[in-house]
């Protein structure tokens, strides 16, 4: 009886109707308006806002966060089946059968993202006040950051794919502006362009998916597309799924569009924290989970998502193991963690809550790690090479503690959030069925071991061992405006994950959206114990390599696997040889054809006409009498011809 009821709720869950918003939730547009207002004032206000610009830049995300909390409280007041609410703002496009309203949808999934974006985003903004204190472009920086939040909020709040796409592009623009914030550095300018172009490839996939949805379902709203997804043929559904996956790969830096993420470290460190924790890379996971009803009907597309996730999680982890640049090591780790989320999302409804749980937990600990790295750079004259760190634990106590807490969280030591979040993903991978499930699960377990290894390596090279600093480096603890956000993030990293996973709180909360009701809470699974054992081994290995032995000041010569990882596993080389070089050949060929073929033809015609006219021109001698003679001869010819014709 209970079983059949559960099935009934699972089936009914997908049909959960979106009700019009009432009460405070009717003002959901405030979430967009706050950061957008900040961005507009700061970017258009010019120099006169320099003095108080950063305060406005911090106040706007905080206001949005406050509103998000109120809206969340209001949502909790509704019964479980009626929590999806929408606010219709205005009609954007009306062209025949094609109608697009700008509408916001506040449901369990979007509120998770809104709270993460505004909450973690606000902490990163506060941190930036201290981090960017001496930067002449601080006001512009806060303007871009607010724009980033506004675009991301539009992305997660949209109730149709077209408005989502607008936010999606806004995120791309803001990330371009922020990665290239120090645009006078050629590396930063190139990294910004690279990020933008890699994202454009993904965006093309998403836009094609939207077009395909419109031709198939006649609608681009979530409600319209998900009402009868089964009406489309399986091939079309798989195509939509794969195109959505391409879009997600671009934004979330998954294989094969991963190469921009490591270069994106050229931006200021708070930007890295914002991109990696609260915004941008989470968008791909959001897109997959939001489009769940389509993926549910297409096992092939789901499998592709899982494979991409599994491949990326190993790829990122391997890169991280060899990076000496602390930010790049953390960036590789982000790729890897997002890979876990994609893997979970590819499993289907059973994996969605775990993907979101890991995403939220990751938001805390990765923001904490990046801001910690920012604090270290702040104290070390912007040094990023971990071989020049060492022994920082003695001089930066708060940073050491917060970084340590986030470290334990990310490698999945039991009471910390990462353990619960990641273990459920690995467990779900093993249970996804068949040999495929085992392969995915084993990939995830190996990834967890690698995570423990590279994060321990980062910890040891940074905080332990001998001091290998520059002579003029005087590391010191960051000011309170920078330490407090990190402390709050560390607290979240420690406790939040456990809270959301234990008792399947998040899974139950997300149930109506994901269409999955968890069977029973299982904390310590077999895979969890295996992962834990592997992590301990990896920590011991890292200790043997980087803790016991002194760390050389320059990277020692290495053989194949290490050199490959140092070069991002040839990601750029592959892009260069497969895409850039052939692209250059094609352009050169086109230029040659254009110059010789098209231009040649046109130029020959022009030359012939020009030369002939040049010769004909000589007839215009300026002597009136020769003109008169030609007129006379013409007249004679005319008369002669007339006479002949008459005869």
């Amino acid at each position: 009886m209970t079983g059949s009821l559960a099935v009934a709720t699972t089936v009914a869950a997908h049909a959960e109707a979106t009700l019009p918003a009432v009460g405070v939730q009717r003002a959901a547009w405030l979430l967009l308006v706050f950061p957008l207002f900040g961005a507009v004032v700061l970017l258009l206000g010019g120099k006169r806002t320099d003095r108080w610009g950063h305060l406005l830049g911090v106040a706007m995300p905080l206001a949005a966060f406050a509103y998000a909390l109120i809206a969340f409280a209001a949502m909790l007041g509704y019964p479980a089946g009626q929590r999806s609410r929408s606010v219709q703002l205005y009609s954007w496009i009306t062209a025949g059968a094609f109608k697009v309203n700008v509408g916001l949808q506040l449901d369990q999934l979007s509120i998770c993202f809104v709270l993460l974006i505004t909450g973690v985003g606000s902490l990163i903004h506060i941190f930036s006040v201290g981090y960017m204190a001496h930067d002449p472009g601080r006001r512009r920086f806060f303007g871009y950051m607010n724009l980033f939040l506004a675009a991301m909020l539009l992305l997660v709040l949209a109730d149709n794919y077209l408005v989502l796409y607008a936010g999606w592009e806004g995120v791309g623009l803001a990330s371009y502006l922020l990665i290239g914030f120090w645009q006078y550095k050629p590396t930063a300018a190139v990294a910004a362009k690279k990020a933008f172009i890699a994202n454009r490839v993904g965006d093309a996939g998403l836009s094609l998916a939207i077009m395909l949805m419109f031709t198939t379902f006649g609608s681009v709203t979530f409600g319209g597309v998900f009402r009868h997804p089964g009406a489309a043929s399986p091939g079309v559904l798989t195509a939509i799924g794969l195109l959505l996956l391409l879009g997600a790969c671009g934004k979330s830096a998954q294989l094969p569009l991963q190469s921009w993420l490591l270069d994106a470290m050229e931006g200021p460190t708070p930007v890295s924290a914002l991109i990696h924790a609260a915004t941008m890379v989470t968008a791909g996971v959001y897109l997959i989970v939001r489009s769940g009803p389509i993926f549910d009907l297409s096992p092939d597309a789901r499998l592709a998502v899982s494979i991409v996730g599994a491949a990326t999680l190993l790829f990122g982890a391997i890169i991280s193991c060899a990076k000496d640049d602390i930010k790049k090591a953390l960036a590789g780790s982000t790729m890897s963690q997002i890979g876990y989320m994609m893997l979970a999302a590819g499993i289907g409804p059973a994996g969605y809550p775990f993907a979101i749980a890991l995403l939220l937990a990751h938001g805390f600990f990765k923001a904490g790690l990046f801001l910690g790295a920012g604090s270290i750079m702040h104290g070390m004259n912007d040094e990023v090479d971990m071989r020049r760190y060492g022994g920082l634990a003695a001089v930066m106590r708060i940073t050491t503690l917060t970084f340590g807490a986030c470290y334990l969280a990310i490698i999945g030591i039991p009471p910390f959030s990462g353990f619960f979040a990641k273990d459920t993903v690995i467990d779900a991978a093993f249970h996804s069925g068949g040999t495929g499930g085992w392969i995915l699960g084993i990939c995830a377990v190996i990834g967890a071991g690698l995570t423990a290894f590279y994060m321990t390596r980062v910890m040891l090279m940074t905080f332990a061992g001998k001091r290998r600093w520059d002579e003029n480096a005087h590391p010191h603890e960051a000011p309170p405006v920078m330490t407090w956000p990190v402390i709050l993030l560390a607290v979240g990293a420690v406790g939040f994950g456990a809270w959301e996973i234990l008792g399947d709180r998040l899974a139950k909360f997300l149930g109506p959206v994901s269409g999955y009701t968890p069977p029973e809470p299982a904390v310590f699974s077999t895979s969890g114990i295996v992962v834990l054992a592997l992590a301990v081994v990896a920590i011991a290995l890292a200790w043997a390599m980087y803790g016991r032995r002194p760390v050389p000041g320059t990277a020692p010569a290495a053989r194949f696997p290490v050199t490959a990882a140092r070069r991002d596993l040839y990601g750029d080389a592959i892009n260069e040889s497969l895409l850039m070089r052939p692209g250059q050949w094609i352009t050169r060929l086109s230029v040659y054809f254009d110059n010789r073929g098209v231009d040649g033809l046109v130029n020959t015609v022009a030359a012939v006409i020009g030369g002939t006219s040049g010769r004909m021109r000589r007839l215009q001698t300026g002597f009136v009498r020769s003109y008169a003679l030609s007129m006379f001869l013409g007249g004679v010819l005319l008369v002669g011809a007339l006479l002949l014709a008459r005869i």
Binding site: Q620, G622, F623, V624, R625, A628
Partner: protein
């Protein structure tokens, strides 16, 4: 007198005029030759009108006279202007407007 003689005279006058236009350099003389050709044509018109008993030819002769008068007015004005600036009435000297 038969109309053929008039036509023959018109042809002779026309040829004299045409040759004058082609071989003389003085613009004044060229004008006079043009007038000669016009008058030759007029003579032919009138002769043919007489031959066919049709008034149209005579009417056209008047038109030609009016046109010739107008042409002389404009032409002589141009000629005066050229002569004032260049101190020459030779059409071969006024050859600036060329390729």
């Amino acid at each position: 007198m038969s109309p053929g003689n008039f036509v023959a005279l018109a042809v002779i006058l026309f040829v004299i005029g045409a040759v004058g236009v082609l071989v003389r350099r003085n613009a004044m003389v060229i004008f006079m030759c043009v007038e000669l050709m016009l008058n030759a044509v007029n003579l032919a018109f009138v002769a043919f009108a007489r031959m066919h008993g049709n008034l149209s030819g005579q009417v056209i002769a008047f038109f030609v006279m009016v046109v010739a008068a107008a042409e002389v007015v404009v032409g002589l004005a141009i000629l005066m202007a050229i002569f004032r600036t260049r101190r020459s009435a030779s059409v071969d000297d006024a050859s600036l407007l060329k390729y």
